[in-house]
Symmetry: C2
C-alpha cells in the first residue's frame, strides 16, 4: 500500500542546501570568489536560476555556509588530550592550512566577522584558553587577540582575491616593505631583517606569531 500511494519518485539528485553548498565550494576552489555566480552555480547544478533561493536566502548566506563547511572540519577535529597551548597551535595551523587550500575562506572570514564559521573559531579558542588557567577577566582580551591574529594573518596571507598572479604579487609587496624599511632605517641589522622578511616561510612565520601571542598572554 505504501508503494501504491507513493508519489512519483524524487529525483535522486534533488536539490538540498548541502548539495548547493558543496557545488559552491567546488566552484570557489576552482575559480575563486569572482567565479561564484548564481548563473554559474545553477548551470553546474543543471537547474533553473531561482531554484537555489528555496534552500539558501541569497549569495551571502551561501558564502557563509560554504565557509562554515570548511572551518567546521577543522574545529571538529580538535583534540583535547594535549596541552592547551599545543592544542591552540594545532587549531591555528589547521585554520591556516584550510585557508591555504581554500583561499576564498580567508577573505570571507575577515569580510564578515559575525558569521557561523567565526563563531566556531571563537568557541574553540575560548575553550582551549580556558584550560590555560587565566584569570577570568583576562580571557576576553586573550581570546580576542588570538582570534584577531589568526584571522588577520590568514587575510594577509591569501593574496588579493582577484589576481591570478598572486604569488608574484605577494613577493613584490614584501620587497616593497623591505625597501621601505631599508630607506627609513638603513642600519646593517635592518637590512638583514628586510632580507629575512622577503625570504621567510609563511607557515613558519604564522606559527611564530601564534607563539608570540601565547607568550604575551602568559607574560603580560
Amino acid at each position: 500500500m505504501a508503494e501504491a500511494t507513493t508519489k512519483a519518485p524524487r529525483r535522486s539528485d534533488a536539490l538540498s542546501k548541502e548539495r548547493i553548498v558543496a557545488a559552491a565550494v567546488e566552484i570557489l576552489d576552482a575559480g575563486g570568489e569572482a567565479e561564484l555566480t548564481v548563473r554559474g552555480l545553477t548551470a553546474h547544478l543543471a537547474t533553473g536560476r531561482g531554484a537555489v533561493y528555496h534552500h539558501v536566502s541569497g549569495k551571502h548566506d551561501l558564502l557563509a555556509a560554504a565557509t562554515d563547511r570548511v572551518i567546521s572540519e577543522v574545529t571538529s577535529g580538535a583534540r583535547s588530550e594535549e596541552e592547551a597551548s599545543e592544542a591552540i597551535r594545532a587549531l591555528a595551523l589547521g585554520i591556516f592550512d584550510a585557508i591555504d587550500a581554500h583561499p576564498w575562506v580567508g577573505t570571507e572570514l575577515s569580510r564578515n566577522p559575525m558569521q557561523p564559521a567565526v563563531l566556531r573559531i571563537w568557541t574553540s579558542i575560548g575553550v582551549q584558553l580556558q584550560r590555560l588557567g587565566l584569570e577570568p577577566d583576562a580571557l576576553p582580551a586573550a581570546g580576542s587577540a588570538l582570534v584577531a591574529y589568526v584571522l588577520g594573518s590568514t587575510a594577509q596571507y591569501v593574496a588579493g582575491p582577484r589576481r591570478a598572479t598572486s604569488e608574484v604579487d605577494r613577493q613584490a609587496f614584501l620587497e616593497k616593505v623591505a625597501d621601505q624599511w631599508r630607506t627609513h632605517a638603513p642600519q646593517a641589522h635592518v637590512t638583514e631583517a628586510a632580507a629575512a622578511l622577503v625570504e621567510h616561510d609563511d607557515r613558519e612565520q604564522f606559527l611564530e606569531g601564534v607563539d608570540i601571542v601565547l607568550a604575551g598572554i602568559k607574560h603580560r
Copy 2:
C-alpha cells in the same frame, strides 16, 4: 599676449584624481561600500559616466586610493620622540580610530592586503619595532604579528559591511560566543569570563591586545 592666446579657461572644478577620491570618501562615509557606484559617483561629480576612468584605472584603484587617503593621515602623524612601544600603541590606536570613523577602511584593508595603505602600516610598524632593539631575524615575525593583529582586530571590530543594524548584531554575536563558552566549560570562572566578553569596551580591549603582542615580542 598671454591673455590673448589663453584657451577657454578650465572649469575651476575640473576633475582630478584627488577630487574623485575625495568624493568617493564622502560617499563611503555616508553610505558604506554598497553605496559607492560609478553611477552615483559621477552623478555626485556632475560628470559623465566614463569620465573617472581618465583619472583612476577602475573601482579597485579608487577604493585603494580612498583607503590610502585615510591611512596616510594616521601614519604621517607618527611622532618619533616617544619611546618605541609607546609610538606603536599610538599608531595602533590611530588606525583603530580612523577605522571607527570610516568603517569601510577596515573591510578594505583586509580584503586587499597588498595595497598602498597596508604598505604604509607595515613601514610605520617596522620603523618603530626596529627601535625596540630586536635581533634582526626576530623583526619579520614581530612585524607580521603586529600587522596581522591590528588588521585582524579592526576587521573584527567593524561590523559586516552590509548591515545597518551593526551595533545590535555585534552585541548579539558576542552573546553567542559567551553562550558557547558557558556550554563547553560551565565552570564559574568561565561564566564570569563570558560576561566580561560581552561587556568589554572595544577600544580598551584592542589596546590590551596590542600590549599582549608587544609583551610576547619582548618575552618570547
